[in-house]
């Protein structure tokens, strides 16, 4: 894909957001000024484009969804986070079967981590729903800025060296073999530092539940850099993990009224279609510039959430 197409895509999404932002201002002063259907329609188009950019930028849809939709649409953050969780959940559920069958995602690796993360996500969701919107926005803004820093600074390791598996992972027999198509080799892997990772997944779960974000941005560095799982296993297991972590938080949002079908369904369908188109584009080319555009969008959305929370940019 040529750069100009990417730029058109980005221009389109920024136009949509400035358009929706202007509409949001209008509706604040005059409820009848904008027909109700405009919002779900813009939401559908925006999430479709976000889905494409998520694949090309190598990030999860949920992490883009919450700050961007929360920042530029008139929906309360409760509904945005509820929808964000279902968006991340649907993406993870859809990707799960393929990743598990190919052996990229590993059930034995995911299950102990998921146990900790899903329990923590319940606590995070309950905290998130109890907090006032300005506090949520401020904390979300800071978290997004931290994610931007992680995306820019964190290194990745294709095949990290694990000299000796730790006692816990040995006892639980967390190891595996997968077939690497690009080299046509069987890759054996094992992990270390499992207790430390379990501890970190408490924080990851709480943040996932509190902000309705997918947690791939945190899962992958922990699995890859801390535990020493190969990058492909880390990315795939992280995606699969989201289907469990986000399920527990999603139920809390659903049971507490933070799910509106008119927001959730267009978002899920839009982002899923975007992911499908994104994967097709990715099969042909992967312009590196997209990742930086996605990071810039996250930076902007993070600053918007922070300033909104602090009452500087309402």
């Amino acid at each position: 894909m040529k750069i100009r197409y990417v730029m058109v895509l980005v221009l389109l999404i920024f136009s949509l957001f400035s358009y929706s932002f202007a509409f949001a201002e209008t509706t604040a002063s005059n409820q009848d000024a904008v027909p109700w259907w405009i919002w779900p329609l813009i939401l559908f188009i925006a999430t479709f484009i976000l889905g494409i950019l998520a694949v090309l930028g190598g990030v999860g849809g949920g992490v883009l969804f919450v700050p961007i939709i929360g920042g530029f649409f008139p929906f309360n953050m409760d509904f945005v986070r509820g929808a964000g969780l279902f968006v991340a959940l649907a993406g993870a559920l859809a990707a799960g079967p393929g990743l598990l069958k190919r052996g990229f995602a590993d059930l034995r690796l995911a299950m102990p981590l998921a146990l900790i993360a899903s329990a923590s996500a319940i606590i995070g969701a309950m905290i998130g729903l109890a907090l006032p919107s300005n506090v949520v926005n401020t904390a979300l803004g800071l978290t997004i800025l931290m994610i931007v820093a992680i995306m820019l600074l964190a290194k990745k390791s294709e095949y990290p060296e694990v000299k000796k598996a730790d006692a816990l992972s040995q006892a639980l027999r967390i190891n595996g073999i997968y077939h690497e198509i690009s080299t046509d080799k069987e890759i054996e892997w094992k992990i270390h530092r499992t207790p430390q990772a379990l501890f970190l997944f408490i924080a990851i779960g709480i943040m996932a539940g509190m902000f309705g974000l997918g947690a791939g941005w945190a899962n992958v560095p922990v699995l890859n850099l801390l535990m020493g799982a190969p990058l492909k296993v880390s990315v795939a297991t992280s995606k699969f993990l989201l289907s469990i972590t986000d399920t527990s938080a999603a139920w809390i949002y659903l049971n507490n009224g933070a799910v509106l079908p008119m927001i959730v369904v267009p978002s899920i369908i839009g982002i899923m279609l975007g992911l499908v188109v994104g994967v097709r584009i990715l099969a042909k080319t992967k312009p590196k510039v997209v990742r930086y555009i996605v990071i810039a969008m996250l930076l902007f959305a993070g600053l918007r959430a922070l300033l909104k929370g602090l009452g500087i940019w309402k």
Binding site: Q31, W37, W39, P74, F75, N76, D78, F79, G82, L89, A90, L93, A94, G96, P97, G98, L100, K101, R102, G103, D106, L107, M111, A114, L115, A119, I122, A125, M126, I127, L129, A130, L131, A171, L172, Y178, H179, S243, I244, T247, S248, A249, W251, I252, Y253, L254, N255, N256, G257, A258, L260, P261, M262, I263, V264, V265, P266, I268, I269, M272
Partner: protein
């Protein structure tokens, strides 16, 4: 898609059920949304009034719209909007179903640690889904 030869039995069983469940859930999500949009079943909350509610915090929306939290939506599934909760809840329940599917496999393999992990995970997810945990109120 054929599974890799190195993939364990429970992982394949989980993947197969997840695959079917996800497809069924997505199809029903689209169908129920069409029912909602076309007005085949009248919604509990008139669509034109949604902009009033989606600005509120979830708790205020429930109070204002007179909707009870938890599973009370089951009483409203004949309404176009709440019908959409059926596939949404199904997607939410899918992980529990997959875990229940692999429980006997762990037991058969005498893999008690993972049997307990799976059992506790089921309990955690069922607790989250139960509606017993209330949040919000600001």
């Amino acid at each position: 898609m054929t599974a890799d030869k190195n993939v364990k039995e429970e992982q394949i069983a989980y993947a197969k059920l997840l695959d079917w469940g996800m497809k069924i859930g997505l199809i029903f999500l689209i169908l129920t949304f069409i029912v909602y949009l076309t007005g085949i079943l009248s919604p509990q909350i008139p669509i034109s009034e949604l902009p009033k509610y989606w600005k509120m915090k979830a708790h205020d929306y429930l109070v204002s719209a007179g909707i009870h939290p938890g599973w009370a939506w089951l009483n409203l599934i004949t309404k176009g909007d709440f019908l959409n909760f059926v596939p949404v809840a199904f997607l939410g329940a899918l992980t529990v179903l997959c875990y229940i599917r692999i429980l006997p496999i762990f037991l058969k393999k005498r893999d008690f640690a993972y049997f307990i992990f799976a059992l506790i995970e089921c309990l955690i997810l069922i607790l989250a889904a139960s509606g017993l945990l209330k949040a919000g109120g600001h």
